[in-house]
Amino acid sequence: MSTLIKAPAPTQTQRMLQRTRSAFTSPKYGPVLVTAILFVVVFIAGGIRYPGFFAGQVILNLFVDNAYLIVLAVGMTFVILTGGIDLSVGAVVALSTMMVASLLQSGVPAVIVIPVIIVATTVLGLLVGLMVHHFKVQPFIATLAAMFLARGLCYVISQSSISISDESFIALAVSRIPLGGGMSITWSVVIALVIVAVAVWTLHRTRFGRTVYAIGGGEHSAQLMGLPVARTKVLVYAVSGLCSGLAGILFSFYTLSGYPLTAIGTELDAIAAVVIGGTLLAGGYGFVLGSVLGVLVLGIIQTIITFEGTLSSWWTKIFIGALLLAFIGLQRVLTRRKT
């Protein structure tokens, strides 16, 4: 005679723990949660260590200083979600700042300059996308070619720095929006946040967005499901081009000049932000908001290094490298457990 022992129903706390555990070990949410915790920990540690760190403006400055990087990371997220990579973004940012500066210098009004640049960089992205998809060139090498091209074109425009003196452009760049309490943000933050909102909506509420995730999950299956793989794969590079162009404009808001050597290595920052923000490099998993969080983590490390004062700026690179490694390691562990 056997008695069935009923397992005790999981209590509320047990269920909570269970849910938390599965959230942390899922490849979808785990890295984002770790990044969020990291951000909070670093912020609190900074606040304890440095006076004046716990200010709203410190947080807002993260957005002000990194608005362009947020936009770049958004574009990069689309590309990495499909399992690709875009190495050209830094050079395209530089090209965009050069075009802004030289067009404004020759007297073209800002209202025309901005759309022209965005269209130009989008077309460049589109060409890269065509190369990647239709000619089966690896994303890495195709975007490398685009990087050379964009950097070279910067030099064709000018070999030295061009400063921006267009009044309406400067007005847009330096005017601040007061938020009360002595805190303020710039228009570039507003633009960046709008882009983030649009990207979130596109990825989660449109067919294009769902196809992006599907391609990352498995290109062949996506094709068999009848999804427009070819179009989407080409378009993500156009999206990245668009974001790079816009990021370049935001960057020129910040520097008010165009210089052919700006933004060297920015592609690495963007990739690092996306990876730290929890997007799987193999594609398929990740969120735009995670990438924003990734940018904020990079920003806060930079801020801490500034507050510390004695640490040199090249420590930033080493920290970014170490973080990148840690998060890639985390991705490996999480995905391995699932398969």
Partner: protein
């Protein structure tokens, strides 16, 4: 006759050599004394010698890169490794009481090479043991490596004064620049070890089909370690030559973009980025094409910084030519031609 021609054209070295020949032609037209080599103080001088000497660091890095690419990998960290090697050597020389002492120079070079060995092992570990995609694994060192090099030089540009060290970059032995000997040495080592032993075949096997080669009993792990270590060593030698050339360790700018040039050289040389069959001779020709392109831009009088646009065009063209889509289209075109020729033959 036409069979021979077809064989020559279908050789992987054909297009890179044509490219090189065209570049030489442009140079000779723009500058008739291009091929002349003069002897001054017993040393050889001339445009060709310059191309070989200035191209040597990139050629060395590209040879290392070829083997990495053959295993389906890529090494983006070579520029950072070159910067670290140069910085280490310079900081040791600066710290030594007598930088001109050959023993000190030997120690400096050996330490730089040893550190490169460690860095290569690190890359190999990430790729072979942890299993991270090579682009990303080496991206980490690419990002952090420049920072580490800056740390070694403490953010300064270290200038040293050491005659024995300078020989690496600007010295001559029997009239030929030392850098050329080093490039030739690295090339010979690579050829001897991969073509005179089974090593090259094993590397190609891993690149063509990792799973099949595993089932055939090829241990990929050791091979991957080996190629990444070799690539890092090549990068260190390249970095030392570049540093010795200027006698200054500039952690931010030494060997900047050398990884791109090296990858470009490999691609032009006909090695596919998808891994598998590789050609070291092709890589050498590819490196020469790039360096000649740079020289051509100078001699023709185009502003040198626009070189990047040319490089972009060359990469794009080569990639499009190598693309399976293009090959299929060409094959279809050839079939159609053959078919038409056949029909004509029948109707006549």
């Amino acid at each position: 006759m036409s069979a021979l021609l077809a064989r020559i054209v279908s050789s992987r070295l054909f297009w890179p050599l044509v490219m090189l020949a065209v570049l030489f032609l442009i140079n000779v037209i723009a500058f008739p004394g291009f091929f002349s080599i003069t002897v001054r103080d017993g040393n050889l001088y001339g445009s060709l010698i310059d191309i070989l000497r200035n191209g040597a660091p990139m050629m060395i890095v590209a040879i290392g890169m070829t083997l990495v690419i053959a295993t389906r990998g890529i090494d983006l960290s070579v520029g950072a490794v070159a910067a670290i090697a140069g910085s280490v050597a310079c900081s040791i020389l600066l710290g030594a009481p007598d930088p001109a002492d050959p023993g000190t120079v030997a120690i400096a070079i050996l330490t730089a090479v040893l550190i490169a060995l460690v860095l290569g092992t690190w890359n190999g570990f990430l790729v072979a043991v942890v299993g991270i995609q090579p682009i990303i694994a080496t991206l980490i060192l690419m990002t952090a490596g420049r920072g580490a090099a800056m740390l070694i030089t403490e953010g300064q540009i270290l200038t040293v004064n050491s005659a024995p060290f300078k020989v690496l970059g600007a010295g001559f032995v029997w009239g030929v620049p030392v850098a050329i000997y080093l490039a030739a040495g690295v090339f010979l080592i690579a050829v001897l070890f991969t073509r005179r032993t089974a090593l090259g075949m094993l590397i190609e096997a891993v690149g063509i089909n990792p799973e099949a080669s595993r089932q055939a009993g090829v241990r990929a792990r050791g091979l991957l370690f080996l190629v990444y270590i070799f690539a890092a060593l090549c990068a260190a030698v390249g970095g030392l030559i570049l540093t010795a050339n200027t006698m200054a360790a500039d952690a931010n700018n030494v060997a900047l973009f050398i990884e791109l040039d090296a990858i470009l050289a490999v691609v032009i040389g006909g090695t596919s980025l998808a891994g598998g069959r590789y050609s070291l001779v092709g890589t050498v020709v590819g490196a020469l094409v790039i360096q000649t392109l740079v020289t051509t831009v100078y001699t023709v009088g185009i502003p040198p910084i626009i070189t990047m646009v040319f490089k972009a065009v060359v990469v794009t063209l080569v990639c499009l030519l190598q693309s399976p889509t293009t090959n299929e289209a060409l094959a279809a075109f050839r079939r159609r031609l053959a078919l038409r020729a056949g029909k004509e033959a029948v109707s006549v």
